[in-house]
């Protein structure tokens, strides 16, 4: 099946965060954060440690429940939708500290990403009805062709995830998210802890996902090189507030951003 290149950034917001506030006890992790993400774009979220970046992704994927504000996906308010339903709607994500199923094979981890798309009921799978068998085989082919081949990890398919090097685990995490066939992909520090070569590979994968599959990407990253290279727009968080939003060029010379970063260094 040939991949049809999809035009990049569309003129439409696929993801909208409005007035999102989240606090833990007395600590305000997010304060009235707004963010809108163009369909087909790559949006970066940067900010010092503890700025609330991961918390923001957690609110979007439904793992954290914000005290106020709303999240809408593709024009639909998903604020009250459970995390697994949001995944089924097309919000995929990876984790800052890879949250894989370590005892399972790479293949099973990736197949799990497709869980919500599969239809076989539990009785059908136990009896291994022809329908259930066909679905499983189709899944296997799909995972091999669309994900493992794409991420150059077919040779690892039967490896136990826990036995893989950290950089590869990050790749499995991406693979699992891709198996969800997401429309928006949330990546939490995809190149953290990687060497230069792994970083380049990962950056290329992210670009390919966006360009070839038309997936909208939101990524948190501390590696400024990667952020500046990949992103169409960048949002800056500091102490839970979105202090800036703009193109990479705008962000690079934004006075508040420079202050937030220098402030962090001085501290």
């Amino acid at each position: 099946m040939a991949e049809i290149p999809v035009a990049t950034t569309e003129d439409r917001d696929i993801l909208c965060v409005e007035g999102l506030s989240l606090s833990f006890g007395g600590l305000a992790a997010l304060t009235a954060v707004d963010l809108s993400v163009r369909a087909g774009s790559i949006t970066g979220i940067i900010g010092p440690n503890g700025a609330g970046k991961t918390s923001l992704l957690n609110c979007i994927s439904g793992f954290y429940k914000p005290q106020s504000g709303r999240v809408s996906f593709d024009g639909r308010d998903v604020s009250r939708v459970a995390p697994d339903r949001r995944a089924a709607l097309g919000i995929g994500r990876t984790f800052q500290n890879v949250a894989l199923f370590e005892g399972m094979s790479v293949l099973d981890n990736v197949k799990l990403g497709a869980h919500a798309r599969l239809r076989s009921g539990i009785l059908a799978t136990m009896a291994m009805t022809p329908g259930a068998r066909r679905e499983e085989m189709r899944l296997r082919e799909e995972v091999e062709n669309e994900v493992l081949d794409f991420l150059e990890m077919e040779h690892l398919r039967h490896r136990t995830v826990g036995s893989l090097a950290y950089g590869l685990q990050k790749r499995v995490d991406l693979a699992r998210a891709l198996a969800m066939r997401p429309r928006v992909l949330l990546l939490d520090e995809p190149v953290a802890g990687m060497n230069e070569e792994e970083t380049e590979d990962m950056a290329r994968f992210i670009l390919d996902v966006q360009e070839e599959r038309g997936v909208t990407v939101v990524l948190i990253e501390h590696d400024m090189g990667v952020v500046m290279d990949l992103c169409d727009r960048i949002a800056v968080l500091s102490f839970g507030e979105r202090i800036a939003l703009g193109t990479p060029a705008e962000i690079a010379c934004h006075p508040e951003v420079i202050r937030a970063y220098l402030g962090e260094e001085a501290a």
Binding site: G62, F63, D84, L112, H115, I122, E136, M137
Partner: protein, 347 residues
């Protein structure tokens, strides 16, 4: 030594019996199983029948605990639900076993669904207590709902029969137990390799990540409880036709603990381990009995002192395995196999 089984297609790679060797061994094992009752003595046959019934129940508990990471101390009571369902349908309505046993399974499954509900909110110790409550309540119901269960007098059930041919001896019932057990082990193997098996393990390993990749925690846990108690119910139904009499004390808490011991000793999450665990845990009390027989000459009261030790031994085995061999006998067996597959190159 098996090396380089190159799998040409994904279908072959996904098949259950992947290598010619496993296929051959499967056939050999089935042949041996069919010949067994004609070669074994009465007592051994009785024990093996018992193991067959317990293995099905234990497999259900392993699906719940080993696959899904949920605990239950009420497994024996679910077996009781299946047993009573089967016995009542058979004795009052004269239905045949191929209806009563699945119906007992379905009834237990419904019970499991209800008891599984708290699993969304509570985990670990609290879930253990909730399921313990189910065990106590159900035992009470078995004893006191006399009009239905026959109370402590119990229910007598006629032997199962196929087209008028009664399965009234241990040899004959053996084949029923064997067939049902093989079927349910195959079903569980399929399950383990399917989207639901993966979801079960995902919920066990990291429920947060499972939910975020699209696994509905509640539905998955409930399904696991349902499958688990369905297995218990099937075991209960077979038990009825095996013993032909059913009383409330057949399904005490100590049987729930025994199931737990089987699963832990055999290997959490291991399907073959469930068999090893069942065999081992059925033989332990036998060895205790044999032990008391040996010392009877010098210590005539041994029986009365040592027999209660059974539960202590089960408890000890659970603890010892959890600490020293958390993957159970299945892992021990894997080590043995690895040793021999490399032998004589390994020392």
């Amino acid at each position: 030594m098996l090396i380089g089984n190159y799998k040409e297609t994904y279908a072959a790679d996904e098949a259950i019996l992947r290598t010619p060797a496993t296929r051959v061994w499967t056939v050999v094992a089935l042949g041996a199983a069919l010949a067994f009752p004609f070669l074994a003595g009465d007592y051994l046959l009785y024990l093996v029948n018992l193991m067959g019934v317990l293995a099905i129940g234990a497999l259900g508990l392993n699906i719940l605990i080993g696959f899904t990471g949920q605990i239950s101390l009420g497994h024996a009571a679910f077996m009781g639900i299946g047993a009573y369902g089967t016995a009542i349908l058979a004795s009052r309505f004269g239905l045949p076993f191929w209806i009563t046993i699945p119906a007992g399974g379905a009834l237990a499954c419904a019970g499991g669904m209800v008891v599984g509900v708290p699993s969304l909110r509570v985990k670990g110790l609290y879930l253990a207590i909730a399921t313990l409550a189910a065990q106590v309540i159900l035992e009470w119901v078995f004893t006191n709902w006399t009009s239905v269960t026959g109370g402590i007098r119990g229910i007598n059930v006629a032997p199962a029969s196929i087209l008028g041919f009664p399965l009234d001896t241990d040899t004959r019932i053996y084949f029923l137990i064997l067939g049902v057990a093989v079927l349910h082990f195959v079903l569980a193997t399929n399950l383990r390799r399917s989207r639901w098996g993966r979801a079960f393990v995902a919920v066990r390993d990291r429920d947060v990540a499972a939910e975020i990749v699209g696994v509905n925690l509640f539905r998955t846990k409930i399904l696991s409880f349902m499958v688990s108690s369905y297995y218990a119910g099937i075991a209960g139904g077979l038990w009825v036709y095996f013993t032909k009499v059913l009383t409330p004390e057949n399904f005490p808490l100590s049987l729930s603990i025994q199931f737990l011991a089987i699963v832990i000793v055999g290997g959490l999450g291991s399907i073959p381990g469930t068999v090893y665990g069942t065999v081992f845990m059925t033989l332990v009390p036998e060895m205790l009995k044999a032990g008391t027989g040996l010392v009877r000459g010098v210590w005539p009261d041994a029986q009365s002192y040592l027999f209660p030790l059974r539960d202590v031994v089960f408890g000890l085995l659970i603890v010892v395995f959890l600490i020293f061999e958390p993957h159970g006998l299945a892992e021990v067996w894997n080590r043995v196999k690895r040793f021999f597959s490399l032998w004589p190159f390994a020392k």
